[in-house]
Symmetry: C2
Subunit: 548 residues, 2 copies
């Protein structure tokens, strides 16, 4: 018996386009003579469709698209995820297509409603397992989260000990370390239920999320036998052999796909795909960004070039009197190394004119935070103006560390359409910079950019370290506070300095309004800012926590 | 038997402050010799606390605050909402305080997870009803959504026909028409269960939401006997009389509170409270806004003055060559009528300098959308600079109609901290303008501002009607598409012109990214932009809907 996992890049809402992709994959699967072809969770409409699911006509269109697809796939058994609407109820479902028709439907039983997931907002849980027989093998159809609670799953499938394989169609988003969690789940599923596992994941970028693919076959001993490509489409095919002793073995038909070398490589590939898909799926050919000669904008530009091509990236240097000759020349050097279009627009004259106009208001000054922020806002205006004129997407260059503590100018450097490194901690930015040079096989990002102490260059001799703790310490506190919801007491018990912990937490909490207004970026950590972490702006707990 | 409903303005996260308020209300209730005092849902921590509920120390602090409050309220029965954390599980609970201790706990059974509600993200549903006896009367304790599904509630309480009163503690946010829905629910609850109803609602603004109070007593015939103040704190006290035939009558101890005169008055009061609370709870004394002489900024300024006082509102006129002498003079006239600080900063010189600098890029032009948007962005920069310098909150002035179709400049007129009229359709803005003059008893907003055809004044002789359909038609389409999730077919069937419907829907869908980046504003309609309506930015359905 032969199974194929059709790991493809669906676009949310593109019902006709997604179906067309699946028809093409189906043709390849027929050629390879498979018995069963599986597509990811909600493959018909893409994941997550969010409030599109509140539109009755959307659910109806999903059904129509599914029926058309079924009619076009008459010769094999195909499993495909779709949003199923009934009167007053909706389900996250898997259709079993046979003989050109929707033969059976399985409804997801476990609906995740935490982190980035809102499935209880839309779906009702299903209550009945579905087991199909493929060439003599009993296969239980499951959807994503169904297999993450093995106790629930065992109970759900109880009473049917003929099941020899768990087929799982997923839309499991990436973060660093997620693949290990997934492999553990698949291994446990195989071991506990004594079944082989065929796991088909989605691939592609969708707003803040990147789905990393890496569909998996495991045999009934829990061994992971085959893994599809990471961050790319793939058709993973394997033969399934039932041994006499009940063991189910898996034999992949092609050599193993190359996998990311380490976690930095994983992040790099996630950022490249997330950037490419956000731009392309939203109709942008070109992107535009400010190049300061700092490491954040350098890494952003380098990733954009890999994602979109050097001909589609434009760098703008916007120096003021506070920018050093070194950073200005590094920006130009980087642009040269990347082979991108590069322009310089000094902001001094505009800043001077703003200052002259604002001086009519008593108390205005060309010193202090307002004047610093004004420089960032002028740069934002320039980039947005060029974006409007030439139709390019503006990339913001803020990293997770500064986004967390609000070390940025609202409507200044946060002005743009997409933030590639928004969820990347500053300490990881440096690793990415070195990785980019390694992957490129030459010094793309100048060495100085990586070694120079970071500065916003908005005032004379300014350094990040004037306002922020050392980034190693800052990132440790942020990981504990933002990603792990730890308290001051817990962080201090771990050995972090109490005064710094208090200061950082205060900054994080006070800047919720700023984050609420910053463009989407790619989630790469277990908890990103955005729909992954939903905190009130109006929130007095910050001032009092751990002190009640 | 005497009951008091302590409708008060809680602040999210301010555990100590909320408890202190409740202690003061308790003292008044003791003076009034009540037998039972009820506070709103999650009164200890405010509603909604969102991801604060993911912090274990937050849940622990809620429990500590509850125990302290209980110790301070030893002489009466008090019902208070709190977030209850157990190992791995959390509940939206009501504590029954008696004898200075938490005597019993009821856990909310129906958890809303639609619209602005995410309760399944945080809470597990409770499974057991709680009936307490107060002076011989059996009272079932319920929380908010529990009474909105009367079939569920009847089943949940089945088997206890001694219950004579339903006590419901709520945090039910305002939108126009909501009070009628609430009254219907309370009436149905009384009639179907043959019980009196005591309904205690929260009051106050919390980010996008305004809770309108209007706590209610209904007798067991379903008659609404007493209603607390709208959009203000109140302590509603009534005597409960059990008649021999099982009827439960209610007698309020004080004359009825004044209620809003009509739906425009309701919206007006919601905006005033929402503005006041957003500013005050976030520590802003002053606000700042651009005054164009148009109706949107005029209404925004007028509401800010009522909310915060004329001494705390600053208006800035930022004319260009495209602004007519009439609108410029109307802005000044409005500021005079409101008695607010007023400054004029012409943007011409700054615009000229930007143009000069941008001309170095081939293809830049002083005609077209980029040049128009630049003017709005310069204004945004000026306002944000003054905000940074003087610590004032910048109010944005976009209404719901233009927010919907993206008739605004990202990081231009959308730059600010809070949008008072963000959820108010343009047609309602005009009604509000007239209402403001009526309530003020004089012409606060100049007549011209109300009668002049609206214009963004970013190009010569520009009118909104050059780019947009008539606002009456636009608002009808938006209500159907945005608030009611209707399809093109449905809208056209209702008599709306197909070409305009298509055009408007395309504009709404294409501008999701812009809305994602606009500051919070006050929800006044059944579906506001923001967490009430969660659509993907990357979304191809818009282009194809109804055409599969």
């Amino acid at each position: 018996m032969r199974i194929a996992l059709g790991q493809f890049n669906a676009v949310v809402g593109d019902l006709a386009g997604n179906a067309e992709k699946m028809r093409q994959i189906y043709a390849r699967a027929v050629e390879a003579d498979v018995d069963l072809l599986a597509f990811p969770e909600l493959a018909i409409c893409g994941y997550p469709p969010e409030d599109l699911l509140y539109k009755r006509h959307f659910l109806r269109d999903c059904s129509l698209a599914l029926e058309k697809l079924a009619a076009d796939c008459p010769d094999k058994t195909v499993i495909v995820g779709f949003a199923e609407g009934e009167v007053g109820k909706s389900y996250n479902s898997a259709a079993v297509i046979r003989g050109g028709k929707v033969h059976k439907v399985y409804r997801k039983g476990m609906l995740p409603n935490y982190g980035v997931f809102d499935e209880r907002r839309y779906f009702n849980p299903g209550a009945k397992p579905l087991v199909i027989n493929i060439e003599g093998l009993d296969v239980a159809v499951t959807i994503c989260f169904d297999i993450w609670n093995i106790r629930w799953l065992r109970k759900f499938l109880a009473g049917d000990d003929r099941i020899r394989m768990i087929l799982n169609i997923s839309a499991s988003p990436f973060h660093t370390g997620k693949i290990r969690a997934r492999e553990k789940v698949i291994n446990a599923c195989a071991n506990e239920l004594n079944c082989a596992v065929a796991y088909c994941n989605l691939v592609g970028g969708q707003d803040e999320l990147v789905f990393d693919g890496r569909s998996i076959f495991a045999d009934s001993t829990g061994r992971l036998v085959a893994k599809a490509k990471a961050f790319d489409e793939d058709l993973l095919i394997a033969d399934v052999i039932s041994a006499a002793d009940g063991t189910v073995l898996i034999e992949p038909v092609e050599p193993a796909a190359r996998q990311p070398t380490d976690s930095v490589d994983e992040i790099y590939l996630a950022l490249v795909l997330g950037t490419k898909d956000y731009a392309r799926k939203n109709g942008f050919k070109k992107v535009l960004l400010g190049l300061s000669g700092g490491v954040d904008s350098s890494v952003t530009a380098a990733i954009a070039v890999v994602a979109l091509g050097s001909e589609n990236v434009v760098g703008i240097s916007m120096p003021s009197e506070f920018n050093s000759p070194e950073t200005i020349s590094d920006a130009e050097k980087l642009a040269g190394n990347l082979g991108i279009e590069f322009h310089t627009i000094p902001i001094g004259p505009i800043l001077g004119q703003f200052h002259k106009s604002l001086q009519t208001i008593e108390g205005w000054s060309d010193e202090g935070i307002a004047y610093e922020n004004l420089q960032a806002r002028i740069r934002g205006c320039i980039l947005m103006s060029l974006s409007n004129r030439f139709g390019s997407l503006v990339l913001t260059t803020g990293n997770k560390s500064e986004t967390a503590v609000g070390y940025s100018t609202l409507y200044g450097d946060t002005a743009g359409g997409f933030g590639i490194i928004k969820d990347v901690p500053k300490t990881t930015i440096y690793e990415l910079a070195k990785h980019i040079n390694k992957v490129g096989g030459r010094q793309i990002i100048p060495e100085d950019v990586i070694t120079r102490p970071p500065s916003a260059e908005l005032a004379p001799n300014q350094k990040d370290s004037d306002s922020l703790p050392d980034y190693d310490l800052l990132d440790k506190i942020l990981k504990g506070y933002v990603e792990e919801d730890k308290s001051v007491t817990e962080l201090v018990t771990e050995g972090l300095p109490e005064d710094v912990v208090h200061k950082v937490i205060r900054m994080v909490d006070r800047n919720e309004y700023k984050r609420r207004l910053s463009p989407p970026g790619i989630k790469i950590t277990p908890k990103a800012f955005g729909k992954d972490r939903r905190l009130p702006i109006t929130n007095r707990y910050s001032q009092n926590q751990d002190t009640v």
